[in-house]
């Protein structure tokens, strides 16, 4: 215990450590604040959409009630085709419990759609508005501090843990102490790692205090454990470099090179490989094809309806006149048919992205930084899997919305005011906690593997620590 106290005092006595801790603390709390701000922004956007939904549908209902009193059969509020096509329902994915810890892709992947009975791609391209320069530069969130900055601080605190003693000629003095040099070096690394780890826990506590509702213990444990594993990885790397007994400058250079490779070069190469091997088709193709299909389908919407009525004769209204122009009815039929014809092409985009995801899931093993970022994204719900989970729910709701209004439109039924309470509404169902936890643990296992490899790589050189030179 006295050794820990002594080492701690020694560490605190140098201004470098104190400055590093203060700077890391400032960066971490700034990252927490940005993450919390973004989550609040998303919630405000969702609340705005929900308030607008209530306002719009209240007005529609009142209009329908008034139209019933006035016996105005052609009121838009009683026309299911017009309501279904032109009055949207928000489908929103609220920020997850730990969203403030990692913004991830949540500023690029949409979290809010205005769903109508139009084709899916009509609203799926909706995106959050932001200055593209901001998006390009990325976010200063807690995940950025953990993935990018924590390794740098660890490198700064440990790069000369052996070489510094040698260069100050205190190494022989250390070896002459009645303490195992392995224990001493291990203690130095552990103290520095613990200081950084302690700060990360403080950041997590700050997030919980500001936005702690609904956070499960398993998420917290995986977050803390993964952060500890990441710190351990960089400590072991530093250990493996230090035991080579190079100069401080050489150690620093090697460590920073590793950081560059794992944090910049390999992730960029993974992304380049993913987009090259599994390219997403150009969106221009989708647009050209969509317009072509729409033009062809618009030629005979009455014919489309006739085909549908043949398959569903019980839905055919008595007064259906194919020669009479009925905009909402025809437009709904056009949307349905063009969606059916475009489905194969539209699916290609999803398939390409899925293929990229599976590729990156394997390739990320090459970089502990990518693994750690994925862990943080999973636990914060800001990664690709949760987005896909949301999109699948939007798909199902869209189908439910179309079916509700299509049935009534095709049957020439009116929408009564009392039916407004039963109109389909989107309710987001969160993934069960075990799924993101499982995905995060898979990535954590990759990091643990790296730590083991590095430790084993350093072991043959460990005897060198005993040498006076």
């Amino acid at each position: 215990m006295s050794l820990i106290n002594y080492e701690w005092k020694l560490l605190r006595s140098g201004y470098g450590f104190n400055v590093a801790i203060i700077v890391l603390a400032a960066a971490g709390f700034y990252g927490v604040w940005n993450g919390v701000s973004w989550s609040q922004f998303q919630e405000m956007a969702i609340d705005t959409a929900l308030e607008e939904e209530i306002r719009t549908y209240s007005e529609l209902r009142e209009t329908a009630e008034q139209a019933a009193v006035d016996k105005a059969a052609d009121s838009y509020a009683m026309n299911p085709g017009l309501v279904g096509l032109f009055y949207s329902r928000p489908a929103a994915m609220p920020p997850a419990a730990l969203a403030a810890t990692s913004i991830g892709q949540s500023d690029v992947y949409p979290y809010l759609f205005d769903v109508t009975a139009h084709r899916k791609d009509d609203f799926l391209h909706q995106e959050e508005m932001d200055n593209p320069n901001n998006l390009l530069l990325g976010r200063f969130d807690l995940a950025f501090v953990v993935v990018y900055l924590v390794p740098l601080f660890i490198i700064a605190l440990t790069f000369n843990i052996v070489s510094g003693e040698r260069e100050r000629t205190t190494w022989p003095l250390l070896l002459s102490q009645p303490v195992s040099v392995y224990r001493l070096i291990g203690l130095k690394l552990l103290l520095r790692g613990s200081a950084v780890g302690g700060l990360l826990l403080l950041f997590l506590v700050a997030v919980l205090l500001l936005r702690g509702e609904g956070v499960s213990l398993s998420l917290l444990m995986v977050w803390s454990g993964s952060a500890a594993l990441y710190i351990l990885f960089w400590l072991i790397l530093s250990f493996a470099v230090n035991v080579r007994k190079g100069s401080s400058a050489a150690n620093g250079l090697i460590l920073i090179s590793c950081w560059i490779v794992w944090v910049f070069v390999i992730p960029a190469c993974i992304q380049m490989a993913a987009s090259t091997l599994h390219p997403v088709p150009p969106r221009s193709t989708l647009i050209e094809e969509t317009r072509q299909v729409e033009t062809e389908v618009r030629v005979d919407p009455a014919g489309l309806l006739e085909d549908w009525y043949e398959e569903n004769p019980e839905m055919r209204p008595e007064n259906f006149d194919p020669d009479m122009y009925n905009f909402p009815l025809f437009w709904m039929a056009i949307q349905e048919e063009s969606a059916r014809l475009l489905e194969p092409l539209a699916s290609e985009y999803d398939r390409a992205l899925e293929s990229q995801y599976h590729f990156v899931n394997s390739a990320r093993l090459l970089s502990p930084a990518v693994l750690m970022q994925d862990i943080l994204n999973e636990l914060a719900g800001s990664g690709y899997p949760r987005y896909r989970h949301f999109i699948n729910q939007v798909d199902r709701f869209h189908r439910e919305h179309i079916d509700y209004f299509k049935t009534r439109t095709y049957a020439h039924q009116q929408l009564r005011a009392s039916e407004y309470d039963d109109l389909p509404r989107f309710e987001y169902e969160e993934e069960p906690v075990y799924r993101p936890v499982k995905r995060a643990l898979a990535a954590a296992a990759g990091m643990a593997g790296w730590s083991l490899i590095l430790f084993l790589a350093g072991l043959p050189f460990i005897r060198r620590l005993q040498s006076l030179e």
């Binding site: 701000s37 620093g252 920073i256 380049m272």
Partner: protein, 479 residues
């Protein structure tokens, strides 16, 4: 003497295994990024050009219909991809690639390429600009951090000055030698870039008429940036107590410059100049349309007033008696009103964006990469100003097209009945094709003057730094 020192430094660097490794890896990364950038730029550029031609064909061949229906078909305008995007794609990944130009709506740009990628993409794309902004300065740091400290630690510094070499010449020689080594990495990449740009002009013509000037502007920007790092690295090496501390200081500056300040600047800009969410923005526009700007003149009132005005103007008492098509007039009035709404709301939004951008440029005082980024993207045509210029050109075309369609309806209709007013290809062909002309270099230079000045200040400061220190450097001094 400068030449001798430079040659010696150059040879020493080339003999250093670390340089060969680092230069080799960075050189390969630079060439790969150029190749990937060229391939991406060529294919996207070709896709967009082809899609734009298809849009025109679809517009012309849309068949016979009411002009308002044609206005609803509209066209999609595809953002062109300039050749220099192969070096710096700028904000292209985060702006939509296309915008639907149709009646009634000033639509937002759709299909951000970043949305078709995974979280790993946020680590940064491997582009030539990223390699030059982040990795080349690192090479310079690696080459320079112990340039002076090692001489001091080896005891050779005093010997050098004892020969009568002036410190300023010593620094100049060291910097020139290092610059020569860095150029070994850059020259092959520059040749590759020039070849790629030449291939563009052979294949299908260049996008920018002033591409030579833009390329020169970009090259000067990057050279200035490298010189800043050269000067700072040499100066820090001169004043640092040891090679280790020199490396630490320079790496701290590099991290601040390349990593911390860009992200912090972005979040700071958002906090100081917040912008509405997409939902809020769309609702503000919808509310303005419904209720009138500033809450006056809701839509029904506007329509009633229009009818009264036309009746009075033409001395009639019913729509059927009007010599012009009422629906067409109403549509154009509605367009005029909505244009006002969009002008107001989009200009509010874009002013906010530009304030954010200006604040971000200001952080170039602390981190030169922020100033360089703006210059590089501006020269490449992949910055906000170029995007806004394209968006405004597209919107102008949209308004012109809609007005043409409405005018045809208003003045050339035989009937007030929508279904009777059918037009043919002749009308569609009378609308000129959307033919976008990018801004010239003069406008680009005006927009870039602020970050260019900041970069210039850094160049002077960075260049002067080691030479100011050189006055204190003698063979007797502790430096």
């Amino acid at each position: 003497m400068i030449k001798i020192i430079a040659q010696k430094e150059f040879r020493d660097i080339l003999r250093d295994g670390r340089f060969r490794w680092i230069a080799g890896i960075v050189g390969i990364l630079l060439l790969s990024s150029l190749l990937a950038g060229w391939h991406h730029t060529v294919s996207m550029s070709s896709d967009h050009a082809s899609a734009q031609e298809t849009m025109r064909e679809q517009w012309l061949n849309q068949g016979e219909k009411n002009p308002h229906s044609a206005a609803h078909l509209g066209i999609y305008a595809f953002r062109p991809i300039p050749e220099l995007a192969l070096i710096d794609p700028g904000i292209n990944l985060y702006t939509g690639t296309t915008v639907w130009l149709e009646a009634h709506y000033q639509n937002e740009f759709d299909y951000r390429p970043a949305r078709d990628s995974l979280p790993v993409a946020r680590f940064g794309a491997l582009t030539a600009s990223v390699v030059m902004q982040i990795l080349i300065p690192l090479i310079i740091i690696v080459l320079c951090f112990q340039s002076i400290t090692s001489e001091r630690e080896n005891g050779t510094l005093r010997q050098i000055f004892a020969t009568g070499v002036k410190p300023a010449h010593f620094f100049a020689g060291k910097m020139l030698g290092t610059a020569g080594a860095v150029l070994l990495v850059l020259i092959p990449a520059a040749l590759a870039g020039a070849t790629a740009l030449t291939l563009f002009s052979v294949d299908g013509g260049v996008y920018f008429a002033d591409i030579t000037a833009r390329s020169a502007m970009m090259a000067l920007g990057y050279l200035a940036y490298f010189c800043v790092f050269l000067g700072i690295a040499m100066g820090v090496s001169a004043i640092a107590g040891s090679s280790g501390s020199s490396l630490l200081i320079l790496l701290a500056f590099w991290v601040l410059n390349c990593l911390v300040v860009p992200r912090a600047a972005s979040d700071l800009a958002r906090s100081v100049y917040p912008t509405p969410s997409g939902q809020e923005f769309r609702q503000m526009v919808a509310a303005d349309m419904r209720e009138g700007i500033d809450g006056h003149n809701p839509a029904d009132e506007r329509m009633a007033k229009l009818r009264e005005r036309l009746f009075e103007e033409y001395g009639v008492e019913s729509i059927e008696d009007l010599p012009v098509n009422f629906e067409g007039v109403a549509l154009q009035e509605s367009e005029n009103y909505s244009n006002e709404v969009y002008n107001r709301r989009y200009s509010e939004l874009w002013i906010r964006y530009e304030k954010q951008n200006r604040l971000r440029d200001l952080t170039g005082i602390v981190a030169p990469v922020m100033a360089l980024r703006s210059v590089s993207m501006g020269a490449a045509g992949t910055d906000w100003h170029h995007h806004r210029h394209f968006a405004q050109a597209a919107e102008s075309w949209r308004r012109m097209m809609v007005e043409e369609m409405n005018d045809a309806l208003i003045y050339e209709s035989d009937s007030q009945n929508y279904a009777d007013n059918i037009r043919t290809r002749e009308l569609w062909a009378s609308v000129p094709d959307f033919d976008y002309q990018p801004p010239g270099i003069g406008k680009v230079v005006r927009e870039m003057r602020f970050p260019a000045i900041i970069l210039g200040i850094w160049l002077i400061a960075g260049g002067a730094f080691p030479f100011l220190l050189s006055r204190r450097l003698t063979y007797q001094s502790k430096l």
